[in-house]
């Protein structure tokens, strides 16, 4: 007899039995041992029909193809730039992917991006050995000037962005800050100093309560408490997600 032993969106720990019987299928973050399906990491159990998977709550960023991330230039080499991407691995940005200019051999690459610069880039490839290639060719990919960078848990990024960017648009709209959220948990924001502080606080709040329901309403009332009634958002925002 098959049955599920956990509720949807319940916090589960490694080794916890999620379901018994062969009618259920182990998804991400779970494994089957004998008849039972067990969790293999800390997170929220997610029941989707017959499949059971885990939405992780913690852990460092693992590079994934097509993610738009923020990276910091940590080295300038002969043929490109090496970026720190808030992960166990570094990313490589080749000259060809970094600029559309013609670059002569042996040119000084720091005139494009120098040490310590933050870039918005997109992952083009990740090998099994976790060699990461990124590109700067694409809409919204650029070098960041001014503003500030904050760090958050990369697993909370989808919550900070919200459905179709709803959450981050709300913060942008209320605080009038420019915000770019990278999938690797780095967030760039720029606005007036007072508004930046509010935005940082709001993001910290979302991060802390990301696993709870009804967060959008809470964030809205938090922002309205500071700025008064918010205008309803219409149309789509051009967020980088």
């Amino acid at each position: 007899m098959s049955k599920v032993l956990v509720k949807d969106k319940e916090v589960v720990v490694p080794g916890e039995e999620l379901a018994i019987g062969l009618d259920y299928l182990p998804g991400f973050g779970t494994y089957r041992i004998g008849d039972s399906i067990r969790a293999s990491r800390l997170g929220l159990a997610n029941l989707d029909g017959r499949a059971i998977k885990i939405i992780p709550l913690s852990g460092r960023y693992l590079p994934k193809k097509n993610d738009v991330i923020l990276g910091k230039v940590i080295d300038v080499t002969l043929n490109g730039w090496r970026l720190d991407i808030n992960s166990a691995y570094t990313a490589m940005l080749m000259v060809k992917e970094g600029t559309s200019d013609f670059v002569t051999k042996g040119a000084d690459l720091t005139q494009y991006y120098s040490l310590g610069d933050y870039l918005v880039c997109k992952i083009t490839n990740v090998t099994t050995q976790k060699l990461v290639d990124v590109t700067m060719r694409g809409p919204g990919l650029k070098k960041l000037r001014n503003g500030r960078i904050i760090k958050c848990n990369p697993h909370k990024v989808p919550r900070i962005i919200g459905k179709q960017g709803s959450m981050v648009s709300m913060i942008k709209n209320a605080t009038k800050c420019w915000i770019i959220v990278g999938q690797n948990g780095l967030i760039w924001l720029q606005g007036s100093p007072k508004d930046e502080v509010v935005a940082v606080q709001t993001i910290a709040m979302i991060e802390k309560e990301a696993h709870l329901q009804g967060l959008t309403e809470k964030v809205k009332s938090h922002l309205e408490g500071i700025y008064g009634k918010l205008q309803e958002l219409k149309g789509e925002s051009n967020d980088i997600q």
């Binding site: 916090v11 720990v13 490694p14 080794g15 916890e16 039995e17 973050g29 494994y31 041992i33 067990r38 293999s40 990491r41 800390l42 997170g43 992780p56 709550l57 913690s58 852990g59 460092r60 693992l62 166990a88 691995y89 570094t90 099994t128 050995q129 976790k130 697993h155 802390k208 309560e209 696993h211 709870l212 009804g214």
Partner: protein, 241 residues
């Protein structure tokens, strides 16, 4: 002469009072606090992160690196000389080997997961407390793992088989003492650490291991609760609002 009553007034199968908490060190990727009687352990997990020196890197999978450290003022008598010692190196190594069977580091080639175990106060059973804390911290850090690892020391004091020895019992002089630290993977019952100091017959060893198994299941529940509580507290606040 017989050992009829324990120094600490416990039953022979009773554990000392246990406290556990996850996420106590904000700067670490995962952390935990584990206290059993007067033995207190803090564990902090950093990574997966870049591993140097480079020759230690394993292109096949990530490696685990444990560091066990007793603080100078932690002991029951003499000051513990700070810095690595033969004893702490051995315990770091056995901790690593006790935790390795549950960890899945395939996803992190060339990287390292660092575990630092610090003991501000000890009263015997420090390697067991360290392993319990480390496994909570690893789960908190979001490292994929099949189960938690739980450890307890059992042994024989004079003619009695006892669970969770404290320092007074280890130093008992009325008769022979055996101290057996055991670590297990609770879901499968597999043993990942088994050491012994002293002497014991085969029969007594088997009896002691049975008692260890029962004790470990009790500690396991406390470990799981510690991890869940980290997220549960927020939910209570949520309901109050």
């Amino acid at each position: 002469m017989t050992y009829s009553k324990r120094y600490s007034d416990r039953g022979f199968d009773d554990l000392r009072p246990i406290e556990a908490k996850a996420g106590v060190i904000p700067n670490a990727d995962g952390s935990a606090f584990f206290k059993i009687g007067n033995t207190t352990a803090y564990a902090a997990v950093y990574g997966p992160r870049d591993l140097h020196p480079k020759f230690k890197q394993d292109p096949g999978k990530g490696i685990l690196r444990c560091n066990y450290n007793m603080m100078p003022f932690s002991g029951m008598g003499e000051r513990v000389r700070p810095g690595p010692s033969r004893r702490s190196r051995e315990i770091s190594m056995v901790t690593e080997k006790a935790l390795m069977p549950v960890l899945d580091l395939q996803e992190f080639p060339n990287a390292v997961v660092d575990v630092f175990i610090e003991l501000p106060q000890t009263d015997a059973g420090s390697r067991c407390a360290g392993i319990c804390a480390a496994s909570i911290a690893l789960a908190d850090a979001g490292i994929p793992m099949k189960d938690l690892v739980t450890a307890v020391s059992v042994g024989k004091v004079d003619d009695k088989i006892v669970v969770d020895l404290d320092y007074a019992e280890e130093a008992h002089e009325g008769g022979p003492v055996a101290d057996i630290p055991v670590a297990m993977v609770p879901s499968t019952g597999m043993i990942s650490l088994l050491q012994m100091d002293g002497e014991v017959t085969k029969d007594d060893l088997m009896k002691a291991l049975e008692k260890a198994r029962a004790a470990i299941l009790k500690i396991y529940e406390i470990q799981k609760k510690a991890l869940k509580d980290k997220y549960y507290v927020d939910m209570v606040n949520q309901n109050e609002q």
